[in-house]
């Protein structure tokens, strides 16, 4: 992991094949190699990039455990680069929509004697891959065209983690439509928020109401209100005639969209974040500093103690 400059993140806006783990792994490996070639520190994939989205009865058939061995081919191709990958997780016989931060690089401040033995290959920072953070989708949409709740167990928490480049958090699609959940995560002092999505286009006839316009609004508002980088990765392609809208974006801590990928089509781009932008944005607008969580706590306590 390079310490000069900020996080160099590759955005993999892919079109997964529904229910075909092998094909999706191969596709992912191609993109991973491309990202590595372009000097990325991390490559980020959309929600359920390994499986496709409208799985229904396919859920148990494509589930894997959240262990490094489930992603060994991906880690192998990454040779030292980190991967943020989303998949169907089986945990204690339940299924989750999950995302794992697969660290293949050496943690910079740990001395070399403490690190696991390097794998085959020549990269000086190649080590045993390990999952340093796992997020399970908390909010499962179950209305309109969505039936997540029918097929998946919901996650129970949002947690931040220390990535090599800074403190990060992960949300999956619907999670980010809840200011409550997003705020809870931001309170954990996140600097980089990754939002992984399989967001479909619904209502092309009223662009103001389209998913894509609303995502842009939400991302810009959160980025500005919390002074964070947001890396939003959304898939493309069709399932059941439903078009996933793509338009993955990086939004800077000022709320500016600094990178936007294609709508509806596969795309790939690399962006280098500037950690100083986070500091400068918060100096200008210290909303995160001035947040008063105890107001929320008072309300929650009132609800807990109210007569039922």
């Amino acid at each position: 992991m390079k310490q000069t400059g900020g996080l160099r993140v590759a955005i993999a806006q892919t079109n997964p094949a529904l229910g075909d783990l092998e094909q999706n792994k191969s596709k992912a490996i191609e993109v991973i190699r491309k990202a590595k070639k372009q000097g990325a520190d991390l490559v980020v994939f959309p929600e359920l990039a390994l499986t496709g989205y409208f799985l229904k009865d396919l859920v148990p058939e494509v589930a894997v455990e959240a262990l490094p061995k489930s992603f060994k081919e991906l880690a192998g191709a990454a040779s030292g680069m980190d991967i943020l990958i989303s998949f169907v997780e089986r945990f204690h016989s339940e299924h989750y929509i999950s995302a794992a931060y697969l660290m293949n690089s050496a943690a910079p401040e740990i001395s070399s004697s403490r690190l696991a033995v390097g794998r085959r290959g020549s990269g000086e920072d190649e080590v045993e891959p390990r999952i340093i953070h796992l997020h399970r989708k908390v909010h499962l949409p179950n209305y309109g065209i969505f039936q997540d709740k029918r097929f998946f167990h919901s996650g129970e928490a949002v947690e931040a983690f220390d990535a090599p480049f800074g403190r990060a958090g992960i949300l999956i699609c619907e999670d980010a439509w809840f200011p409550t959940t997003t705020c809870a995560l931001m309170l954990k002092d996140v600097d980089y928020l990754f939002i992984l999505s399989s967001s479909p286009e619904q209502n092309v006839f009223e662009p103001e109401l389209s998913n894509s316009s609303w995502w842009e609004r939400i991302l810009r508002v959160y980025a500005k209100l919390f002074g964070v980088y947001i890396i939003f990765v959304n898939r493309v392609g069709f399932e059941d005639g439903i078009a996933f809208s793509g338009s993955s974006r990086v939004v800077d801590p000022y709320g500016n969209v600094v990178l936007e990928l294609l709508a509806y089509e596969e795309d790939f781009s690399v962006f280098t974040c500037d950690p100083k932008a986070i500091i400068r944005a918060r100096e200008t607008l210290p909303l995160k500093r001035d947040l008063k969580p105890h107001i929320l706590l008072s309300e929650l306590e009132r609800r807990e103690n109210a007569p039922k």
Partner: protein, 282 residues
């Protein structure tokens, strides 16, 4: 949003883009090389042909012009013209011989109302036969041409023109199809035609439905997209009888829009709890 804006004032380029990507993905991901379309010379099939050509290129779009002996010769001419201007491989196959012997053996009288309907449906199904036969021969997926207005009103022949592999216009009201047609640069001659299934001479959609598409589409938009109740619609100014008629017609034709019902006996029944998308594995 006001219905006429919704129906007319939308981003046609975006819709066209999505439909092109849809056609391209649906065809190739299931392993077909081409698409095949029954071209009638009317607006719907012409729009589908244009979309397919811009998505796949002219060599991969096959047109079949399939008149019955009562079909309007102008329509046949128009369909051929469309094929030639798009540069797509096309064949004109008269479907009359496929059904006329059957019609005379069954003693169907095409001059009677019932007979006319039977012959119309037979012709529509004969077209389906040719399209599916050629689909097999040329490794081409059959593209439907039924729009949302027709589907909601059940204005189509089961296993006839309602027999297809994918249907790009299925979420566009007729009014919206015209907007797409204009954006695609389709000739005014086609755009200006009176919509007709052409199953018998003088047949028109609007004559049969009892409303113009302008009127019907606005009503359907309120009823279906906005989910307004019958009471709301009457308050809006629609006649109670009209609302009732259109609602009933929509309800009565649900069977044309779904897979036939299978009675449940086992623990896992097709269509109920055997749940995989049609895109399964692609």
């Amino acid at each position: 949003m006001h219905p006429s804006s919704y129906l007319a004032d939308f981003d046609a380029e975006k819709v066209i883009k999505i439909l092109q990507l849809f056609i391209k993905e649906e065809v190739t991901k299931v392993g077909f090389k081409r698409v095949i379309i029954g071209l009638s010379g009317g607006i719907d099939s012409t729009v589908v042909a244009y979309l397919a050509v811009t998505a796949l290129g002219p060599r991969r779009v096959l047109a079949r012009i399939l008149p019955y002996k009562t079909s309007s010769p102008e329509s046949t001419k128009d369909a051929i013209e469309v094929s030639e201007s798009l540069g797509i491989p096309h064949k004109c196959i008269d479907v009359t011989p496929l059904i006329d012997r059957y019609i005379s053996k069954e003693e169907i009288d095409p001059k009677s109302r019932e007979g006319r309907l039977r012959v119309g449906n037979l012709a529509a199904r004969a077209r389906m036969i040719v399209l599916y036969d050629h689909s097999q021969k040329y490794d081409a997926i059959v593209l439907g041409t039924s729009n949302k207005s027709e589907l909601l009103m059940g204005y189509g022949t089961l296993y006839g023109d309602l027999g297809y592999g994918i249907n790009p216009l299925g979420d566009l009201y007729k009014t919206q199809v015209y907007v797409i047609g204009r954006a695609l640069g389709i000739a005014d001659k086609i755009l200006g035609k009176v919509p007709t299934a052409d199953l018998w001479r003088g047949q028109t959609d609007e004559g049969e439905l009892g409303f113009t598409y302008d009127f019907l589409d606005e009503l359907l938009y309120n009823m279906v997209d906005l989910r307004m109740t019958k009471e709301d619609l009457i308050k809006m100014g629609y006649k109670a009888q009209t609302v009732e008629e259109v609602w009933e017609r929509m309800r009565r034709n649900q069977f044309k829009r779904l897979f036939p019902i299978i009675p449940k006996l086992s623990a896992r029944t097709i269509g109920k709890d055997f749940l995989y998308l049609r895109d399964w594995g692609t």
